[in-house]
């Protein structure tokens, strides 16, 4: 760490609370089963490269078994369970997650590499809140605006990413169950452990067998799930590339999909913004969760008159970001989730330099083992640069400038994505004007990266199909709803 930063004594969270098995099976029909593939792969701690556990590689036969279990549970149990009883199962899950919150937070940090401060204060409490919120909907769906008799799809295939493993599970499973569907969930290859711990929560909640099935594996497992002939709906969060492949593969089958995909969010700072707050907001917008955030504010648009002052403050703040041990409560920026993601970040950053932008990284020391990337900004970025167009999904910010509000809107909207945007100004009418112009599903004014189960989340354009959260998110799991 650089000299002008306070030295803190290490404050590591104990990992004793987490009791990992050395190996995990698949969670199908309420039981742990060995994979038909007979294959296991390691889930590692990206901060140390230590193997945490061996998990199962689900193949087509495993997926088939899970879908059959979900179908049977739907037909025989879940569709016959009264909505108010469905609600109570979800309330139970919410409470159990709260009771075991610290355990989930530590395990999420270990498996994902994100700081304990975030798993403890964001991922886990929001996951519990998501179940609590949707529990209340289960017996009130006829008031949600989707007709007097809203019906579930049946069996839903759900595929989630590695950036918020438990939270994305909650975003998928809670609304699906609340509306009366059963699910087969495929966690991300590099972060399966909190989903497997969640299986224990399902058991403790006495959720009927087969209502939630969890099949771990890689992309091939996900493809087998999407291509299974007996699923009624697909819900996917991940890259736009895979999202398009899923859309293509289901085109002939007439089943719907919810897709939460990539983004290249613009965080726009006008000259009349509260500058110090904006600096904090930009930092949070791109360095929260190592920038592994689909709605990250990865493009900073600065009004020309404040560029020099703003960048000085931003760099000074970046130099104080604490990078290191994810389990240390002082840590701001943890490990990059995988070697593959690190090389993608490096490749895109190199393209930025090659194409003529200027790179600056915070002067922090990085641990020797594990996958790390320092907080980095590029200035002198043009709209044509790859770092202004492609999702880096790492702690790398591209800075562009504008002169007029109209120019800011044009630049912000000049992307095939449309997930998020940020607006920084003290002028209320300008906020509402900009919010109207921006083609994005979530707009944060004088704040960024805020989430809530009651707030719909999802993108315009190539950032996906549909919404998750809030009344609007229910439509994803109610037959024919829009």
């Amino acid at each position: 760490m650089s000299a002008d930063i306070f030295e803190y004594a290490p404050a590591p969270e104990s990992r004793a609370i987490v009791k990992l098995n050395s190996e995990y099976g698949l969670f199908i029909n309420g039981k742990w089963v060995s994979p038909q593939s007979k294959k296991k792969f390691s889930s590692i701690n990206p901060a140390t490269e230590e193997v945490l556990a061996k998990v199962s590689q689900g193949n087509q036969a495993d997926v088939d078994k899970a879908v059959k279990a979900a179908r049977a549970a739907y037909n025989k149990v879940w569709s016959k369970t009264k909505p108010k009883e469905r609600a109570k199962y979800l309330f139970r899950i919410a409470r159990l997650l709260q009771e075991r919150a610290r355990e989930f937070a530590v395990l999420e940090s270990l498996d994902n590499g994100k700081p304990i401060r975030e798993t403890r204060d964001v991922d886990v409490p929001l996951s519990a809140a998501h179940f609590f919120y949707h529990a209340g909907w289960a017996d009130k769906l006829e008031y949600a605006g989707y007709g007097d008799n809203p019906k579930p799809y049946g069996v839903v295939a759900q595929i989630i990413p590695w950036n918020f493993p438990l939270l994305m599970l909650a975003w998928k499973v809670a609304p699906a169950l609340a509306t009366g569907n059963t699910v087969v969930l495929k966690p991300a290859e590099t972060t399966p452990l909190t989903a497997l711990l969640f299986a224990e929560i399902c058991q403790q909640a006495e959720l009927p067998a087969g209502v939630v099935n969890i099949v771990t594996g890689d992309g091939a497992t996900g493809a087998a799930l999407v291509n299974h002939g007996d699923i009624d709906k697909v819900a996917f969060t991940g890259s736009t590339e895979v999202g398009k492949a899923i859309a293509t593969s289901i085109a002939d089958r007439g089943i719907p999909a919810t897709l939460e995909l990539g983004g290249k969010g613009a965080n726009i700072v006008f000259d009349d913004a509260p500058i110090d707050e904006a600096v904090e907001g930009i930092i949070n917008g791109i360095f929260f969760n190592q920038g592994h955030v689909c709605c990250a504010g990865s493009r900073l648009l600065l009004q020309e008159s404040i560029v020099d002052d703003f960048l000085t403050k931003l760099q000074s703040r970046m130099a104080k970001i604490r990078v290191g041990d994810p389990l240390d409560k002082n840590t701001d920026l943890g490990a990059i989730n995988s070697a593959a993601q690190l090389s993608k970040i490096k490749e895109l950053s190199e393209s930025g330099t090659k194409e003529g932008a200027n790179i600056w990284s915070a002067p922090c020391s990085l641990p020797a083992k594990g996958f790390w990337y320092p907080p980095t900004i590029f200035t002198g970025v043009t709209q044509a640069h790859r770092i202004a167009r492609e999702e880096i999904f790492g702690p790398v910010l591209s800075v562009l400038t504008f002169r007029t509000p109209q120019e800011a809107m044009e630049k912000a909207n000049n992307t095939p994505y449309g997930l998020s945007a940020g607006i920084w100004t003290e002028k209320g009418s300008k906020i509402l004007w900009a919010a109207q112009q921006l083609k994005a599903g979530v707009i944060w004014a004088n704040t960024f990266n805020k989430f809530d189960p009651a707030s719909p989340f999802g993108g315009y354009k190539e950032s996906g199909w549909g919404r998750e959260g809030g009344r609007h998110g229910l439509a994803a799991y109610i037959k024919g709803a829009k």
Binding site: T240, G243, A247, A445, K450, G470
Partner: protein, 279 residues
């Protein structure tokens, strides 16, 4: 004996009535085999021009007040009403139906334009909302129009089919490219005359006549088209159209019900805005 002045049925792009740039047309006959017209056989280039016009019109139309859009749709109903005889005659000639059946179709269409005219300033109220989040933020969600929506007219009930597709798309602020019925294109072109006299801004609706099988793939793969109503396309084409649409993740729907709020909402996106509360 007076010789009739026959109408030339052309395309409607950006508020003008051009022939196809390809110079092509196709012969249209009535049920008895008598010649009626040579409508334009639109090309890929015409389609692209139509999308350009629709795209250019989007900003103005989507930011017009909802009240203004409602008045313009209502004005279209007024213009349709006053041209009832023209539409009745065209529908009788092409669809081979009786005067009363044709008249009923025109009247139902007029009433449907009125219904959707009244929706423009209620969509946000019924379908948006404020969200009670756990923190000091004011948070609201509103539906916004998608952008350019392609509408494929069905091959029966020409005027009514067009109305079912177009009205819900434009009432929320989208702009549209309509591929007219191949067999029954006259109502579509005559409807363009209604639009041209209703203060509907140029480019909000653009109409192409011609071969559906030629035009639909270009429409489905066009990167500036954001949504598609494929209710009027053959069902066997669904897979092909959806695959072509994945390149820009088009919102593609086939509707069962003739008129519904869902038809409007399907071509909107929900935008959620967070604003801090504090002093």
């Amino acid at each position: 004996m007076r010789i009739d002045v026959m109408k030339t049925y052309k395309l409607y792009i950006g508020g003008t009535f051009p022939r196809s740039e390809s110079g092509r047309s196709y012969e249209l006959k009535d049920k008895k085999g008598n010649f009626i017209a040579n409508p334009a056989l639109a090309s890929r280039k015409d389609l692209r021009d139509a999308v350009v016009a629709a795209k250019a019109a989007f900003s103005g139309w989507s930011h017009a007040t909802a009240y203004n859009r409602g008045q313009i749709l209502y004005r279209m109903a007024e213009m349709l009403e006053s041209r009832t005889e023209q539409f009745v005659a065209e529908i009788k000639a092409l669809e081979g139906v009786s005067d009363s059946v044709a008249r009923k179709q025109v009247q139902d269409s007029i009433d449907l334009w009125v219904w959707y005219a009244g929706w423009s300033d209620k969509i946000s109220t019924t379908s948006g909302g404020t969200n009670p989040i756990a923190g000091p933020y004011y948070n609201f969600t509103i539906p916004e129009p998608l952008g350019v929506v392609g509408v494929i007219a069905d091959e029966k009930e020409s005027l009514l089919g067009i109305t079912r597709g177009l009205a819900p798309v434009i009432t929320s602020g989208n702009t549209a490219v309509l591929i007219a019925s191949e067999r029954l294109p006259l109502s579509a072109i005559s409807l363009a005359e209604v639009m041209a006299t209703s203060d509907l801004p140029t480019g909000v609706v653009n109409i192409l006549t011609g071969s559906k099988s030629e035009l639909i793939p270009w429409l489905a793969s066009h990167m500036e088209v954001d949504g598609l109503d494929i209710s009027g396309a053959e069902k066997k084409l669904d897979g092909e159209i959806k695959r072509a649409g994945t390149e820009n993740l088009k919102r593609i729907y086939r509707f069962e019900k003739d008129a519904s709020l869902k038809r409007i909402l399907s071509f909107t996106e929900y935008k959620t805005v967070w604003h801090p509360i504090g002093i």
